[in-house]
Every structure is written in C-alpha cells, then in structure tokens.
Symmetry: C2
Subunit: 465 residues, 2 copies
C-alpha cells in the first residue's frame, strides 16, 4: 500500500470535489445507457465497489424498470446496508422482488436498529413472512425493537455496545477489547457501569488511548453522562446531540439499566428528517415521497388542498357579502387581492420564524412575550410603509383619494393582524400539542384573506358609498 508521492498527483485519488454530484449523475446515466443497450454485465460492474449509500442513490435515481434489472444483477451479493438506505416505496419494491427468504438473509446481517428499521416499513403480510424466515433469536431481538414506540430512543439505539466496570484499568479494558469477539462494528466511547449495570460515566476512546495501562477507568471517565431514557422522543434525542456535541449516548430502560447506545450518524438522519418534516408541512405536503406512486402522492396532497378549498370558499363568502358594493365600485375587485396577498406574505414570514424558533428551541415561554412584542413592532412599521405604498398605487391608478385611503387603512389593519396571527397561532397550536408546522399555514392565510377582504370591502362600503 503506497500513497501518492509528493507533488506527483495533487488532490489524491480519494478526493471528492463538488463535482462528485455531477459524477454521480454521469454514473446513473451510464448505467441507464448500459441497461438500455442490453450490456447488463457492464451495468453491474459499474455498481461494484460503490458505497451502499451510493448504490441506494443509484437505485432511487433510475426508473422502476431499470431498478428491477439492477436488483436482478446484484441480488446475489446485495449489501444489506443498501436496504437500510432506501426510501420506503423503493424498498418495498425491492423486498417484493427479493422475496421473504432473501430479504430475511439480508436483514440478518444488520445491526438490530437497522434491522428493526427495515422490517418496520414492510406491510404486515411481508413483515410476518420475513420475520418467519429469520432464526428465532434474531426474530426475538427484532420483535423486541418493534415493541418500542415509533420515533423513540428505543427504535434508534443499537444493542451492541462496550460497557466496562468502573474498577477496571485501562490495561484490562484494552486487553478485553483485543480479545472480545462480539464487539460492535463502530463505537466512540466506553460506557462505565456499576454492578447493577447502570451507566455512571463515559470514556471517549481518544482519552482511553492516551491513558497509561494501570489507571482505572473511573479515574478518567466523564461522570455526568448525558443519559437517554429508552422512551425519549427522537426529537429530544437530536436536541441532546446538537446541544452537547455528542458522538454517542447510553440508553437506559425504566430501571436505569444500560440497554443500548445511540450513535451520531443515526441522529444526523433524525435531524434531517425533522427539518424536512417542517419544510414539507409548511409547504402543505405531509411527506416527501419522491418515489411514491402518482395515486399515493395525489391521495397525500388531497386533504390539504380540500381544506384550502374550504377556506377559499369562506373568504369568498366575505366578498359575496359585499357584492352590492363591488357592483358600484368595480375597482374594489381589482384591488382587493393586493390587500389579502400582502397580509398572507407578512403572516407567512412571521409564521416561518415562529415555527423554526419553536423547533430549534430559540423561542420558549421564557421569551415568547418579548419576541411577540418585537413581531408586532416589525408589523407596525411594515404596515405603515406598505399602507402608504398601496395607497399611492391606488391613487395613481384610479385617481381616487377615497379609494386610496380605504386601501391604506385596510392594508395597515391586515398587516398588523397578519403579524400577530403569524406568531400567536403557531404558539397556540404548540401549546395545545399540535405541530405548528402542520396546521399554522392554513389558519394564518385564512385569517389574512378574511380580514383583508373584510377590512377593505367593509371600509369601502362604509366610506365610499
């Protein structure tokens, strides 16, 4: 094994530049071309040596027909980790293709947490078949994992870990690690336990390695480990890792016994998942599912659109109430969407900030009142600025001071209401235990539509007729 020599070849072979992404694109196209031209063997070779996450990406990016061919090519030596990396619909497709026996063989190669993860996403019939094809002890440990609540620490943790009694020395520990056959593939810390198997400290591996053999682990351990109860929600686990820069954390059962370990790479996935969920919910989509079927996607988006239709009809009801007024001054119909739209945008801005503040815990009951005051102040300034701007537009367009004053007043009212609602509604939803990202958008825009139309048309009916 020799590395590149000095000056010879700049950034070594392993260097991954930003272009890695377009390289992957080229790879996918190359594989598709090979499959289309019937060069199956060549396509299979192009997958050889790829990291399991990259293989999963390729399987995601090619279409269903190519996917089926590729799985056929690699099924004999399919890395079980590829299954873990797949999105649910694609995984279901491939599991169906592999059949329960081959799927079970792959699942048997995985760490418990990953095996549970894969098995959990299968439909009930397939799940039963795959579990049935596993050996009894593997089936038992997966069923135990499935018994933990979804999105709990119990689901995230892996069982294999390294625990040492506090009276062991570093020397004993190193000797144990060199001899033991059943160690996890990866670990970053030693967990120090008392005789009842309660975690009482952690020793980062780098500290263990710099310590001389006769020293006892208890002398160098961090004695206030961040301990995760097995039923903790994954969002709270992610918060712990972010806040305290953890690489792994011990998980304990209700009696405080060490039962597993959560690793940072699993938490990275959770962090992405949680941020993703907020983005999608704010955008009115419940799940991303780029790989779902057309029908499933439609079914998922339908409810949100139906709610929006209902609220749009509600706002139209407000307009209908002023039909007589609009009949006399048609300019009102022209200008009214401006008032509603600006309110909607101010509301969305405030709402976005609030939902994120809640998610990142920068916004808590300790500072909510102060920040609410700030949002109102910002809305007031924007209300003045945009009321004057909208008034000026209306005046120049329709040459009517009355109309200009009415839109000015309505705009000011709606922007302040938008700012207040954009903050109050997510805070309120959060207080009653509803995810503010899920429901706040529709509430806030309904309010800004209704208030916008009502204020504008109401003031017009009052003063201009």
């Amino acid at each position: 094994m020799t590395g590149p020599t000095a000056d010879a070849q700049p950034p070594g072979e392993g260097v991954v530049a930003d272009s890695a992404i377009s390289l992957q694109d080229d790879l996918v196209r190359g594989i598709q071309d090979a499959l289309d031209s019937g060069a199956l063997e060549k396509a299979g070779e192009m997958l050889d040596g790829l990291h399991s996450a990259d293989v999963a990406d390729v399987l995601h990016l090619v279409g269903p027909d190519h996917r089926r061919l590729l799985v056929e090519l690699v099924r004999e030596h399919l890395d079980a980790d590829v299954l873990v990396e797949l999105d649910e619909p694609v995984r279901a497709e491939i599991v169906a293709q592999l059949g329960p026996r081959e799927t079970a063989a792959a699942v048997a190669d995985l760490e418990t947490d990953e095996a549970v993860d894969v098995v959990d996403t299968l439909d009930d019939a397939t799940q039963a078949q795959v579990l049935g094809a596993l050996e009894a002890d593997q089936r038992a440990s997966i069923e135990e994992g499935l018994a933990y609540a979804q999105d709990s620490a119990g689901r995230l943790m892996q069982r294999d870990l390294v625990a040492v009694p506090s009276f062991w020395t570093i020397g004993q520990t190193i000797d144990h690690l060199r001899e033991a056959g059943d160690l996890p593939d990866e670990f970053y810390e030693l967990f120090v336990v008392d005789p009842a198997h309660h975690p009482i400290g952690t020793v980062p591996l780098n500290r263990a390695m710099r310590t001389k053999r006769p020293v006892e682990v208890s002398a160098i351990m961090d004695d206030e480990p961040r301990i995760v109860p097995v039923d903790m929600d994954q969002e709270a686990v992610a918060f712990l890792f972010e806040q305290y820069d953890l690489t792994s954390a011990p998980v304990v059962d209700a009696s405080g016994r060490l039962v597993g370990v959560i690793m940072v790479d699993d938490v990275v996935d959770i962090i992405l998942e949680e941020a993703e969920e907020d983005i999608l919910r704010l955008g009115g989509v419940s799940e991303s599912g780029l790989h779902d079927s057309v029908l499933k996607t439609t079914r998922r988006r339908f409810p949100w659109l139906l709610v929006n239709l209902a609220t749009a009809v509600l706002a139209s009801g407000v307009i209908a109430f002023f039909e007589g007024t609009i009949e006399q001054i048609v300019a009102l119909a022209v200008l009214m969407p401006i008032v509603a739209s600006m309110g909607g945008n101010v509301g969305t801005q405030t709402l976005t900030i609030t939902v994120r503040g809640l998610a990142t815990r920068d916004l808590t009951s300790a500072n909510a009142l102060r920040l609410f005051g700030r949002e109102i102040a910002v809305s007031l300034i924007n209300a003045v600025l945009f009321a004057v701007l909208a008034g000026a537009v209306a005046f120049l367009w329709f040459d009517s001071a009355g109309l200009a004053l009415v839109i000015l007043a309505a705009m000011a009212v709606n922007i302040v209401v938008a700012g207040a609602a954009g903050m109050a509604i997510p805070l309120g939803l959060n207080r009653i235990g509803v995810d503010p990202a899920l429901a706040a958008t529709v509430f806030v825009t309904t309010i800004t539509d209704v208030v916008g139309f009502l204020a504008f048309l109401g003031l017009a009916a009052w003063f201009l007729l």
Copy 2:
C-alpha cells in the same frame, strides 16, 4: 465515585427527559426573577456548572438588560465556548461589553476553527482590535483561517489532528498518544500519512484499540479515506458526512497535504443551518435572526414584501383588464380568489417537494424528467377533482351552469399550470445557479395568480357575456 445501586433510584441523575426543555424554561424564569429582585449572587450561582451551550441559551432567552447583568456576573470566569454558541447579534452585544482585551483572552482559549468563527462575525473595527490584542502566533493562525472562503471546508476544519506514518505499529502509536502533549481535545480517528504528509488512510480509534501492539497501522487502515479539499463548499462537506456516516474527515490543501480535520459536531451545525436556510427562504425570510433588532428585522423582510406588492399589482392588472366583465357578473369577483388560491397551493406543494429534492440530491438531472411527468400526472388528477368540486360549489351557490363550467375549466387549467411551474421554475433557477428556495415561491405564486385570474375572467368574458 459510586453509581446509584440497583433498584434504588430509577433513571440516574444524568437522565434528561423531554422535560429538560421545560426545566430550562424554569431556570430562565428563576434567573430573571433573581435578577429583578437584586439577588445577583443567586442568579450567578444558577449559571454555575451549566454546559456552555446551556449558558448561551440562557443568554439568548433573557432580555438585553438581564443579559448585561448576567455577563457582568460571569465575566471573570466566562467559558470561551459560550461565545461560540451565541447568535451573532447577541455575541456582538456581549463582545462590546467585554471589550477587545477580554474578548481576545477568551478567543485565545478556543480551537482555531471556533476562534475564526467568532472573530469573523465581529464588525471590522472590533475585529481589528481583538486581533491586535492576541499574541502574534494566535493572530496569524486566525488570519490564516479567515483567508479561506466563507462556507468552505477551510473555515470548518480544526488544525489540531493526529497523523501517524504508515509504518508505525499500534504500539508506537499508543505510546505516542500517551506521551504527546499537544493532542486535540477530541478525535475519533487516526490519519495515516505518507512521507509527503498526504493522507492515505484512516484508522477509527475503536479499531486501533482492539488491535495488538505489533500490528502496523497500514495493515488495519481504511485505505480509501473520504478526503475533503480545503476549498470544498460546506454543503458538499455535509453531504459527504451524511452519505458515508463519517465522524471526522481529513482536509487537504491544493497539493494534497493534510492540513486539518472536520468533526461531525461541526457538520451537524451545518446541516441544521442549510435546512434552516431553505425553510426561511421558502417562507420569504432571508435570515432567522430572532435576536436582531426591530429595525434590522424590518429591513430584512422589506425587499421580499416589496416584490410581493409588485407581483400583486401585476395580478390586479389582469383583473382590471376585465373590469367590464365583473361589472356585469359580480359573482366573478366573489369566485376568482378561489381559482388563484388553489393554484397557489398546488404550486407551493410541488415547489416544496422540488426544492427539497434538489437540496437532498434525490432530484437530479438523471430523474428530473421522470419526476416531472409524475408531478404533471398528480396535477392532472387534482385538476379534475378540484375543478369538479369548485364547479359544484359555484353551481350550488349561484345556480348558474355557465359560471360552474367556467370555474371548472379555469381551475383545471390553473392547477395543471401550477404543478408544471412548481417543478419547472425551481429546476430552472437551480440550473442557472440561483438558489431555488430563495426566488421560486414568488415566481410560482405570481404565475398561479395571473393564470388563475386570466383563465377564469377570460373564459367568463368569452362565454358568459
């Protein structure tokens, strides 16, 4: 050091439940009360023993007056890490209070990457003062860090790392680690280098610890390390860590020499930052800045609202074109927002999915066409469903088959256009190098407003008059 005994006290002392968050809230309120009642010493004690990230949270959550008092209380033993954890505006406040000399003393305690991070956010004058108060070698290494492009790997990396020559044995390595005084505080891997200091492999610490002393590191290293060039964008770095479950990665300069290491906890922050950026941009907010002043916040949100005003006026122009039609059929003014609003929602859904797909690299040029087809199919189904629903609403409300057919047709057109635009616009923006999250929302909603009004009022003018 003894741990809790069996059965005695369930979840040990260190257990952090979901209630940790409300506990923190109580803490903040307790500190505020103590400060208000003049019990300064008590308030200071409540901060004692907190993790630096928690101290930073408390400083964020209390108001500016309380913050000033707290900093006064802890300034003598302020943990430099607290500065790292602070948001920019709060950090600027506290640095101003500490003055350049004390700030420099704190900065001197930090790892290079963190010191660069802190110094970088100071305004130019303060930055010069703080750098001037540092010792020459520290100043030099921070200035070197500042020379790397913002958001590049060079900014993220820390200099201190553990590199070993490939011919060393595990025994030599352990002896070196036990003797060396200048090791980084934390490390998860050993980097194996060739004589030119190019990284040629990595050894996870757990593997080093389980290997017997006489084995050479080259025999157990991963020989295809994921290497990060110093100018790689932080988003690409985050992708590498996510994709390959890395805990640390070697950073090389243009000649391939090992110059630093990026650690997973810094990458977790980047992942959060990038997801945050997308959420905020989709919501029409450029930066979160919960701690910015009212004026700064207003200034930041103003441009987006101004663009929205312009596009709203544009949409109103379309309505104005049909003033005559609306004068004759006022019901059109009542129903037209429904068409625009449904288009806006379908557009936002598709746009959200597309922006996220691009960000997570699940959507690439390899599968864009296929997924575009899927979005069109979904939009077509929704178009049919909601066109019929809206037609039914209009018929029941206004008892006019003509009006019902017009809204049916306009709704169908607008929903299909919305689906197409919601995908095509972010893809197009991405292709020309503009962040799709930043600009796509305003483009898409403008299109759905204009097309919605145009289709509905135009069809009405054509068929109903």
